[in-house]
């Protein structure tokens, strides 16, 4: 939504025909002989070598998985091995033209891409740079293992380094590229431009698009290649990523320096099978994946099918596509056909395909065909070719023996994984070398002028001020964002309605005027892409704030939150950081799909920090903390609180400050009972506490958790030890609520001090009904008092309005409601 673009009814209603460009299919017709003008003999041999290296490597894994031995040395590899035997030419062709600034992202079947891109990078780097990389990576741990036995030059040493680092990673060893925490399906090596491969089919599409966004926004060299499989074309998030990378606004609204579709090639390795499902002809409708491009952009994403059994054809296509991207005409969809002659995994008996089919592809084997051409062209002799095979057999054998040796290649100490779950760094700016792009100086922001007239405390002379006179929760979000925008040039923010509208809840009002499009823009309604691209942006080293307008929409970004945002720091063993904040607004009034508090879901996933401020002071302080950290933070906001003023702290300071993530806030001191809340329920708990004090003389300690993970329980435990009684309340449905976990923990920490079991008051385990009925759904102050009376301490003369007995709890659990 933007004012500068005019939706002209005359134009949009005019009659016409939509046409699509042609999609070239396997049109490469040159031969090795004719390409000798373009490639030197060494280059042509390199292409063969890279393919043969992959063939030997994957063969090794295949026999290890199926026979438990390779070159006479036994090893039992328990983990996965999704091999790409037969697909070597497509990987080598893809990587051949790329340098280290070009970043590739892959899939579960990406060993070949790692080796191809690694070899390509090694050839593109000078010896000193290569040595620096090897010496500095994990303090030279990998280099120390391969250096003594290497007889070749620095590039040979780097190949040993690449083989051993990859294999140690696949075998789950500490000398792996990321300490064995990623394994076969997640191996990568960023110094060579090899970025995370992904075990979730299509998982790389959004992340790679985010990496391309990073390159564009921060004007970095290189392109991004997302290596996907044909079956990933059936995944919605892949479609979302295509569209995100191709949005019109890059051409229509972004400034000249940042203009144009994102610099990314979505390269689909089409091996015709998604595990055992045959894509073309069975599970998909596209005929061929490149057709999808026609549905995305007017230029059809420059889609093309290329013969991935001919490395030269792939190199030719990649060269042309890279050129398009350099001309800011991305994104590109490339379909590289190929065929795996091994199973999906070693357990695959290929029961879904005929032997004739596999034999036919073996007849066309890319390496055999290519070496025949090398010989015909007189570039290599049969002996040369055999010598390479023998040499690589030795190289792979050496890496294999090193990697399986438990003494030389031990596993990481299990406890060390704990230290890799978060990076816990304080980073003021992810790029101190440049100025922050902005349209106006921060001080001239129109909203700042408005806020100057507001009271930064919600209370004056003991009275709560009217809404229009106060600095509100939403203003706190704005102020934190504004300050960060002028501190960290890499910061970008996007989501639905983030620009112009200022976010559905006006948190970003005033930022549209201040920030250029490439730093604040409206995303498509593509939650998977919103979160997935943010993951890619962050792991490339940029700070990003993505927004989900309603918590309920998290369902649309499940994989991106649970598997990508949460996992990449630890799966990379700290190689990657994830300075990403996902703002999630918890709704109400709009019924069952717009009113859910899903704190417990993200809290359950290891690797995420989860906060839920309930006051303007905390909103600014916690967002500042999240925006100064290096970890992924889910930042919940309640729509009930956007207009609330500061009622606890003296005021919300104008200057920058941080509220430490993980520390609960004590909102009130009492003696008889402790109340712990998450989110907006704080205010209802306060009402309940007032009621308890007035009617029954019971005073309460009230804690606002603020942070759900991490959480320092100490002050709460101390309080519970004092009072012996605790009620926990939040707006989440009671069953499985995070409050239940807190209750369990507190029972454990303060068991001997408890005068009654901790009791959780949550929303009903129902759908949330219409706005007018919400008081029957969300916890009310009376419910809290009822729970206290019934379960903790009978209150003289109290008449309950809800049934909070154990019997009722048993009943609803029996019924699952």
């Amino acid at each position: 939504m933007t004012k500068s673009l005019y939706v002209d009814p005359k134009t949009v209603r005019a009659s016409g025909t939509l046409t699509a460009p042609d999609v070239p299919v396997c049109q490469y017709s040159k031969t090795l002989k004719t390409e000798r003008k373009k490639f030197s003999d060494d280059q042509l041999i390199n292409i063969y070598e890279d393919m043969q290296l992959i063939r030997e490597f994957e063969t090794m894994l295949n026999v290890v998985k199926t026979e438990g031995t390779y070159q006479g040395v036994e090893y039992d590899h328990k983990g996965p091995a999704h091999l790409s035997l037969g697909q070597e030419a497509s990987a080598v062709g893809m990587a051949y033209t790329l340098d280290v600034n070009d970043h590739i992202f892959g899939s579960h079947r990406s060993h070949g891409e790692i080796l191809a891109k690694g070899r390509s990078a090694i050839r593109s780097l000078d010896d000193d740079t290569l040595m620096d990389i090897m010496k500095n990576f994990m303090d030279g741990a990998i280099l120390k293992m391969v250096e003594p036995g290497c007889e070749g030059n620095v590039q040979d040493l780097a190949t040993d380094f690449l083989l051993y680092g990859s294999l140690a990673e696949i075998f789950g060893r500490e000398n792996g590229f990321h300490k064995g925490l990623g394994g076969s399906m997640h191996a990568f090596f960023t110094p060579f431009g090899i970025y995370p491969n992904n075990a979730i089919v299509g998982g790389s599409a959004g992340i790679a698009a985010g990496a391309a966004l990073f390159k564009r926004v921060n004007q970095k060299d290189g392109i991004v290649v997302a290596n996907l499989g044909d079956a990933s074309m059936g995944c919605g998030p892949v479609w979302e990523a295509f569209n995100f990378a191709a949005m019109d606004q890059y051409d229509t609204l972004w400034d000249d320096a940042h203009k144009g579709g994102l610099p990314i090639i979505f390269n689909v390795f089409n091996n015709f099978y998604g595990m055992g499902g045959q894509t073309a002809g069975e599970t998909m409708a596209y005929g061929q994946p490149s057709r999808i491009g026609l549905g995305v952009t007017e230029n059809g994403m420059h889609a093309e099918r290329v013969d991935g059994y001919n490395p030269l054809a792939v190199i030719d296509a990649m060269t042309r596509k890279k050129q398009l991207i350099e001309e800011r005409k991305g994104p590109v969809l490339l379909e590289t056909i190929t065929y795996r002659i091994s199973g999906h995994s070693p357990s695959d008996a290929s029961s879904y395909r005929e032997k004739e089919e596999m034999d036919a592809w073996r007849q066309e084997d890319s390496i055999a065909a290519y070496t025949e051409q090398l010989q015909k062209a007189g570039v290599s002799t049969e002996k040369d070719i055999e010598d390479v095979k023998v040499r690589f057999g030795k190289l792979v054998g050496r890496a294999y023996r090193l990697a399986l040796d438990m003494e030389k290649s031990p596993r990481i100490k299990p406890q060390a994984i704990e230290g890799l779950m978060f990076s816990n760094r304080h980073v003021k700016s992810y790029d101190k070398t440049r100025e922050c792009d902005a349209l106006i100086p921060m001080e001239e922001n129109p909203r700042l002028a408005q806020l100057a007239r507001k009271s930064r405390s919600g209370i004056k002379d003991g009275k709560v001020l009217p809404k229009n006179k106060i600095f509100q929760f939403r203003d706190a979000i704005f102020e934190s964002m504004l300050q960060k925008y002028y501190t960290d040039p890499t910061l970008v923010a996007y989501g639905e309605e983030n620009r112009d509208w200022g976010g559905a809840f006006a948190c970003y009002r005033g930022l549209t005027e201040a920030m250029p499009y490439h730093r604040l823009f409206n995303s498509p309604i593509s939650e998977a892409a919103i979160v997935g691209t943010a993951v890619g942006y962050a792991l490339e080293g940029g700070r990003v704030v993505a927004e989900l307008m309603y918590c309920d929409f998290m369902g649309r970004a499940g994989d991106e939150i649970f598997n990508q945002m949460a996992k990449w720091q630890s799966m990379s063993a700290g190689v990657l950081e994830m300075p990403m904040v996902l703002r999630v607004s918890v709704g109400n009034k709009y019924g069952a799909q717009h009113s859910q508090d899903w704190v417990s879901m993200v809290n359950h996933i290891p690797g995420l920090k989860v906060v839920f401020p309930a006051t303007p002071y905390d909103a600014k302080g916690l967002l500042n903390s999240a925006l100064a950290g290096s970890d992924p933070v889910i930042f919940f906001e309640s729509q009930r609180l956007y207009d609330i003023g500061e009622l606890f702290e003296k005021e919300v300071p104008e200057e920058y400050y941080e509220v430490e993530i993980g520390k609960p806030a004590k909102r009130r001191d009492g003696a008889d009972l402790t109340i712990l809340t998450v989110g907006a329920t704080l205010y209802r708990a306060i009402e309940a506490a007032d009621l308890m004090q007035e009617k029954y003389g019971i005073t309460c300690d009230i804690f606002d958790a603020r942070s759900i993970n991490p959480l320092d329980y100490d002050p709460i435990v101390e309080s519970v030890k004092k009072t012996g009684r605790i009620v926990l309340a939040s707006d989440a449905c009671e069953r499985g609520s995070v409050m239940q976990m807190m209750a369990t923990n507190l029972t454990r920490y303060a068991f001997d001090y408890l005068d009654a079991p901790p009791v959780v008051v949550g929303a009903r385990n129902w759908i949330s009904p219409c706005a007018e009925m919400e008081d029957d759904f969300f916890p009310q102050p009376e419910w809290i008092v009822d729970a206290i009376h019934e379960n903790i301490i009978p209150l003289p003369g109290h008449e309950v309005s809800t049934n909070t007995t154990n019997l009722e709890s048993l009943r609803i659990n029996r019924l699952g409601v």
Binding site: G724, F751, D752, Y753, L754, D755, A756, D786, E790, N791, I792, I793, P794, P796, G797, H798, E799, V800, T802, N803, T804, T805, L807, E808
Partner: protein, 457 residues
Amino acid sequence: MATPVIMPRFGNSVESCLIVQWFKNAGDSIAEGEALCEIETDKSTIEVEAPVAGTVLDIFFPADEDVDVMTNIAAIGDAGEDVSSLRPDGAGAAAPVEEVQEEAEAQPATTVIILEDENDNTALTPVANNAGDSLASPRARGLAAKNNIDFSTLTGSGPQGRVIERDVQAAIDAGPRLSPAAAELVSKELVAPQRGSGPGGLVLAGDLIPAGSGVAPAPAVAPAVGETRTIKVKGIRKIIAERMVQSLSSTAQLTMNATAKATNLQVYRAQIKAGAESAGLPNITIGDMIVFAVSRVLPRHPAMNAHFLGDRIVEYDDCNIGVAVDTERGLMVPVIPQAQRLSLAALAATFKPLATSCQEGSIDPVHLQGGTFTVTNLGALGVEHFTPVLNAPEVGILGIGGLSLKPYPGKDGEVEFIPSIALSLTIDHQALDGAPAARFLKDLVNTIENFQLALAN
């Protein structure tokens, strides 16, 4: 209509009896008069018989439970009859779970529980909140343990009758129960702990601790102990324990010792022994002879044959002399009623079967009551003098020690050794002074030394 089986009452002093064992289970048939269970009371074991024939419908208390007298302990009737109306409050066997739930569901959320009056000390009255398995919050348990309070004796005011912190706090605020002696001693310097070593946590004089110390001083280093056996204090042991402590804490005991020449006793006993069979006399022991002597002396010293009841002293004409008997179950004191009227032979003949039934545990509790004076004999065990503990509210108890040779001045200025018997008299100084007690003892010595004269009376 089912018939209840009631825990019988034996005399006024018996408040509760211990169920030793059940002979029948719920569901068994039983004949009228058939033994249903065995109970241990005061100082004896008795079988409780079925009052009617029928099926044992329910048993309300398990074995080993101490049950108040006159409480329903079981119900007999026709199979299937409802016995819920006969179930006493706090009985062990819980009602079926379903019933509880239905009852609770019938009145779900609208329960209004009125707080106990804070000044109400009834919290110390034992009220089982859940039949032996007391519900108490961890916090309440901790507070109770810290203050030496038995939470199971408290009334729970929390949800489901749970004993919660405030219940324990109320008990603490109500303060400890003091024995009269402890109450007199309590001062600024000497304070009472929350719970004493007396029955039901009664604080005795010895439990008092110096103010400010918080707790009684613990031994610096607890010595290591080897294997131990824990014996539950119950039944007769429990009664003796309570009685003895009560005796020592509620009376002012003074023991005086004397020695009586036993020559005449021995001579007379030898005569009886020689001619007992022909004379048709029972076996008469030295102990019998001394009890006989006491029965003849007591009427001349009515202050010794009395009960001290705090605000009054009751003197008795009849000499109901209790004689301590050592049994496997513990000390028992059967009473020889109106001993002053009995001949020596009759006295011995009365006592013998009482002692035997004590040994067998079958004595009727009636024979253990109504004593006015007690004689206890440790002579056979080689003890000379000792300090017998009064059988309160009696004011005197005589301890008989062993026979030994004592030196006496002889005719020619030589020392003469004469067999003598040791006598230890404990009196309640509250009831009488030392001199009248000494006069009684002197009279008794004379009577023993001239035993034949006593026989004439």
